[in-house]
Subunit: 152 residues, 2 copies
DNA sequence: GTAAAAGCTGACGTTGACGTCAAGGGCAAG
DNA sequence: CTTGCCCTTGACGTCAACGTCAGCTTTTAC
């Protein structure tokens, strides 16, 4: 398969595929003319990559995971990496659920414009949301300059 | 309260607070010297903003939501906006769940290095994940240049 | 054979939520 | 009064995942 076929079948742009190759996420054979050639499996690999991106996993981390995807088995470092990402995703889902609950309360309010028989108006639509009693010491950001919490 | 107090109590940087003000998300009184002054409620407002950011809601959308937060009641446009964001968040959660399931399968594999009695090795660790039969026609990106699907 | 479609390699642009540095002003403690 | 911390505005830097344009070669369709 050529790059356009993979792109169409996986639902991404050709630019994205070249970018994945640049990042080491997706290999390709080259025809003598220089054109990229992919096996059928590339389509599912791209879909997997997209799934990780959708989950907020950065390409550098995906790159670290790929060897274990390819090998079909793991080591202890693989296990650590995988569970770490799993935990991060679980936390992100909790954040999403909290935000969605806040929206739900606001929707409830929006549906009861008259203040009278509206129980939701008694409390603010957002939960105070105190993950820990005191705000995190001071760092609040990791060495990479990005927030340590949230979905990135 | 001054800006540093709010920042510490809400767990964000002062730069972020000035940015929120720039975006119209967070107002402040000014002391005669020009320094920003905030009421106590600012801390929870910042936490709400953070919650939305964590859910992938862009600041322009938060800005549209804020009037209804302030008013304590909603209109029909508010309802539309709120439910739209709610749906988006629900979809994002589904994406996260799918990615987490993929990770779970890979973790399962990592825990069974010997291929013999390992049921997970029979199938690929990622689900083919076909949301729609055929890949989306061609656009694949909206006018803003960002992907139409995914987490933000 | 010729034109359209598809690929190639750079290389620069985009977007959002801030980080970071520069150059100064304000204010309580000693 | 000066030391030191906090505050101000302004402006440029960052990072990721691509978009987009230019200029050129290859493949495909008729």
């Amino acid at each position: 398969m050529r790059i356009g076929d993979v792109a169409r079948r996986a639902g991404v742009s050709t630019r994205a595929l070249r970018y994945y190759e640049e990042q080491g996420l997706l290999a390709s054979q080259r025809a003598p003319s220089g054109q990229r050639t992919y096996p059928e499996s590339a389509v599912e690999r791209v879909r997997l990559i997209q799934q990780f991106y959708a989950a907020g996993v950065p390409s550098r981390t995906i790159l670290q995971l790929m060897p274990y995807v390819d090998a079909g088995h793991g080591s202890r470092e693989a296990f650590a990496l995988l569970t770490a990402e799993r935990d991060r995703i679980t936390a992100a889902m909790a954040d999403l659920a909290a935000a969605r609950d806040a929206l739900d309360r606001m929707i409830d309010i929006a549906n009861h414009p008259t203040a009278e028989h509206c129980p939701a108006l008694r409390e603010p639509p957002w939960t105070p949301y105190h993950p820990d009693a005191v705000a995190p010491a001071t760092p609040d950001h990791d060495a990479s300059g990005r927030p340590t919490a949230g979905i990135r």
